[in-house]
């Protein structure tokens, strides 16, 4: 008894193989699309910005003369800000994800937290600015400092890290937990030595995306009082600061055409820092990414 009609299978195969080929091309083009856009963007930026890029640009403060304008304060500020934001948001984000995936009982409170997190992802950055101003700058008396900015940013990007980490943890096969528990490992040992390494690539993806967002945000920082002009370097987390996107935003808003070009130079720097930051994460991610 033959239930499978070989003729039919034969006939359909042509179509299936064809659609496989077509869709492969479509998927490929979709990936290329992103890269082409990026290339166009980069081309425009580099064409405008490269001529202004020199050591002086890196080592001078802002100026009203485009040729003298530099980005020292903004670079330092951004680095400081990331130095606060990255650890705070990653610890909080991964911690939350672990709690939700590993410890939380399925109850109202847990569902509430989940709801919260996806909801926070949609809150516009300016609203986080308002929150940061009220809570960190004023209520907790941190002033217009790096730490206030860093905390605000951490909250802003928290949902991305949480969601990415949650998904990464969820994807770990049960047999991995079984293997570890059966050795007498405690829950925390299992999390630290089996779950986290296995989830690391996903966590890092979340981290990369989140920090990429944080390093490019302007509005919330302006609202909590990040500066637009500062001609000295921050000394500690309580100092005032400016960041690259604010400086860039500032330059693009100037009437003088030259400043728009300087803004592109600033973007090159920002992308470079971003790339530096990401490449570390990408390397680690690559090292740990193993398919089961």
């Amino acid at each position: 008894m033959n239930l499978v009609d070989k003729q039919l299978v034969q006939r359909k195969r042509k179509k299936r193989l064809f659609s496989n080929r077509i869709m492969r091309q479509i998927f490929f083009s979709a990936s290329v699309f992103g890269i082409v856009v990026l290339a166009v963007l980069l081309y425009r930026i580099f064409r405008e910005g490269l001529p202004y890029l020199d050591i002086d640009f890196l080592t001078s403060f802002a100026s009203r003369f485009p040729e003298e304008a530099g980005i020292k304060a903004a670079i330092t500020g951004s680095v400081w800000l990331m130095a606060v934001t990255a650890p705070v948001s990653v610890v909080l984000g991964v911690g939350t994800a672990i709690y939700l995936e590993e410890y939380a009982k399925e109850n109202m409170f847990t569902r509430f937290i989940r709801m919260n997190i996806s909801n926070l992802a949609g809150v516009p950055s300016v609203v986080f600015g308002l929150l940061g101003l009220t809570v960190f700058v004023r209520l907790m008396e941190m002033g217009r400092s790096i730490i206030a900015g860093g905390f605000t940013m951490s909250l802003l990007i928290l949902p991305i890290i949480v969601v990415a980490s949650q998904e990464a943890i969820r994807a770990i096969p049960n047999s991995q937990y079984e293997a570890s528990y059966a050795m007498g490992a405690t829950k925390w040992q299992t999390i630290r030595r089996v779950v986290l390494p296995a989830a690391l690539p996903g966590i890092l993806t979340g981290g990369i995306l989140a920090l990429s967002r944080a390093i490019g945000e302007t509005a919330p920082l302006l609202m909590i009082g990040a500066l637009s002009f500062i001609a000295y370097l921050p000394e500690n987390i309580w100092s005032g600061f400016t960041v690259l996107p604010i400086q860039i935003f500032n330059w693009t808003a100037r009437p003088q055409e030259e400043f728009h070009l300087v803004a592109s130079t600033g973007i090159i720097i920002l992308l470079f820092i971003l790339l530096l930051m990401n490449s570390v994460a990408v390397l680690i991610r690559h090292k740990y990414s193993k398919r089961y």
């Binding site: 079984e178 293997a179 570890s180 059966a182 050795m183 007498g184 490992a185 405690t186 040992q189 193993k290």
Partner: protein, 274 residues
């Protein structure tokens, strides 16, 4: 039919208990143990003791609850969220389901080899020393010694000694299985629970594992699930026959294979395969 089944079991259990108590101390005592996956009951009123320093084989058709049963012995079964249980299981005199009971300690004392090999996506070496590391052994030299010893015992050393740093996922099916055995031996548990440890192994490796089991039983208590009657007959002291979530018969291996009390046991073990 279910009723008859139960009566039969009761009968055989009485005789069994007497025998066991005569002979040896029990490391596990399971009493009136029921287990459900959601709505479906998988184990029905299991009563059984597992003797110390002996090999207990568990046989029975696929899906009869063997894996479920031995996973209950180290409380691994709890990881399935839908599981509900009642009855008691005592290990070394303590009820393992009592709230105060330290499940990690239980699992340290009971090594487990799973039905499907489940190595970590780490190097071969890291897989083996995972347990000792977890329990606080840090010294590199000792860890290396442990790794070598365990891999040798699991009959894997020769094949992997030059590639200890490679990912464990690059091993063949049987190699992965032996790696999991090595990983379990590395913490020198008191009880070893083995779920078809040799099913993916060739006769030579199987022989080595069986030899190992024979050696280990001097010091450890071993529970082994197998579909291979010959194997059960060869290496075990006690054999339990499971059917549809119940223990049909549990007796000395020689007795069970030569004079099964239950008709169903006889049918099963005299099947023409092995």
């Amino acid at each position: 039919m279910m009723n008859i089944l139960k009566d039969n079991k009761q009968l055989s259990l009485v005789s069994l208990k007497e025998k066991v108590q005569e002979e040896t101390k029990a490391i596990y005592a399971v009493e009136k143990f029921n287990l459900w996956y959601g709505e479906n009951q998988a184990l029905y009123g299991i009563d059984m003791t597992i003797p110390m320093n002996k090999v207990t084989a568990i046989i029975g058709p696929s899906g009869c609850g063997k894996s479920t049963f031995i996973k209950a012995l180290n409380r691994m079964v709890e990881l399935v969220p839908s599981v509900r249980m009642n009855g008691t299981v005592t290990y070394d005199g303590e009820n393992i389901f009592s709230p105060k009971y330290k499940v990690e300690e239980l699992r340290t004392n009971t090594g487990m080899v799973f039905q499907h090999p489940n190595p970590f996506p780490k190097s071969i070496y890291e897989n083996v020393v995972y347990g000792p590391r977890t329990h606080g052994i840090k010294k590199k030299k000792i860890l290396e010694e442990i790794a070598e010893k365990s891999l040798k015992e699991a009959a894997l050393w020769d094949e992997v000694k030059d590639r200890l740093d490679e990912n464990a996922f690059g091993l063949s099916g049987g190699q992965q299985q032996r790696l999991c055995i090595a990983r379990c031996l590395a913490i020198e548990p008191e009880v070893i629970l083995m779920d078809e440890p040799t099913s993916a192994l060739d006769p030579v490796s199987t022989g080595k594992i069986e030899e190992l089991v024979q050696n280990l039983k001097k010091r450890y208590s071993i529970v082994i699930i197998t579909h291979n009657m010959q194997q059960a007959a060869r290496i075990s002291d006690k054999t339990a026959f499971f059917l549809d979530g119940q223990v049909v018969e549990h007796a000395d291996t020689t007795t069970l294979f030569s004079h099964p009390e239950d008709k169903r046991t006889e049918d099963y073990i005299t099947g023409r395969f092995g």
